[in-house]
Chain length 190, copies 2
DNA sequence: ACAGGAACGCTAGCAGTGCTAGGGTTGCTG
DNA sequence: CAGCAACCCTAGCACTGCTAGCGTTCCTGT
């Protein structure tokens, strides 16, 4: 009974170690550097151990993405909470969103670019993703009275996501980043 | 002299065959299905021939992307030209952009999601990419009097790109696609 | 017309990928 | 303490992008 509890705990710790190793490696050297062999070496176990925790490499990336959704949601909540007024909240939340994506590009990729269908198969992703979306929604609510809230939120979100991804692929002039963000915020908070 | 001309022509034809094969295969089965071996089989040559035309698989994808930029630019030009008035032009160009991305998802990926840095190293990509961007710019110009034109264009483009990519990864409700597009157009053509 | 040479495309193979089958070794259980 | 079950590792598969080296073919200059 007690030994079984310890085993389960150790197993959970090892699973977390895998996720953390994948996350750190991806942040440091990009997802291409995250191979199952390197991951196994990092946690000091053999490759097949990974597959006793996750269905495959995609599932590991999905797990990293799940953590990312939670982090993003928290960042958005904090940004809105500390904003002086609803209009400024839109700008602050937008800045927080973009900052998250720029500081953790690999994780943002796992969340939105890669691992397309896996997250939605899982159960807890919708929770944290919904938390983030809800926060965006509440931020936009005061300034989007005429249009449907969910639709406006989705469109605003798409604007942020587009700025982030086009920036990252070098399609936009790096210097004018703040001005573009200001334009987006302005168009959605008039 | 003549035989050399024929050889160069045949070589150019084979190069185009590689690009076309990659494009068709990517459209039909996605980029994962585009392997150098399958590509070689498709053009009825051996693998190493590919490397006498392109530096690697990435370069082949980049070549497909280049064709994509030209197509997209043409589609946008046509959409704007047939619009009755400047305000409707914004909506029509936006629709054309999204339609292009949805009808050729693999090519859109090659243009914007994958092959991050390669296109900009080449010479002719900026040309066709700039054509498309200029068309977007001219479309937005009449309705963006107060803000800096290039900044507004980039931001509008980011909105379109975000809608396309989030849609494709299943993050947005498929049904409300037109409403989101309408919101975006409205916010940028007031 | 013919020998010499160079361009050309093939076969075979390398290092690395994600993933899996099978067997031992370990450590818990009755 | 014997027996069993859980566990994890070694070895290997099929596949990837890419390359070295050879053999053939075809054009060239005499």
């Amino acid at each position: 009974m007690s030994t079984q509890a310890r085993r389960e705990r150790e197993r959970a710790e090892r699973e977390q170690a895998i996720i953390t190793a994948a996350r750190d490696l991806a942040l440091a050297e990009g997802w291409d550097a995250v191979t199952t062999r390197r991951l196994a070496a990092e946690i000091e176990y053999s490759q097949p151990v990974l597959y006793s925790h996750f269905k495959g490499k995609d599932a590991i990336m999905a797990a990293v993405a799940v953590e990312g959704f939670a982090e993003l949601a928290t960042a958005l909540v904090s940004a809105r909470a500390s904003a002086p007024d609803p209009r400024q909240a839109v700008a602050d939340v937008a800045t927080a969103y973009v900052a998250f994506a720029q500081q953790r590009p690999a994780i943002y990729d796992a969340m939105f670019t890669l691992a397309v269908d896996l997250p939605f198969a899982s159960q807890d992703v919708p929770t944290d993703l919904a938390r983030g979306f809800a926060e965006l929604s509440e931020t936009v609510r005061p300034v989007a009275v005429d249009d449907d809230l969910e639709t406006v939120t989705e469109t605003f979100w798409a604007g942020l996501h587009g700025l982030v991804t086009l920036m990252r692929s070098g399609r936009l002039r790096r210097a004018d980043h703040d001005r573009r963000l200001a334009v987006l915020v302005d168009r959605f908070s008039r």
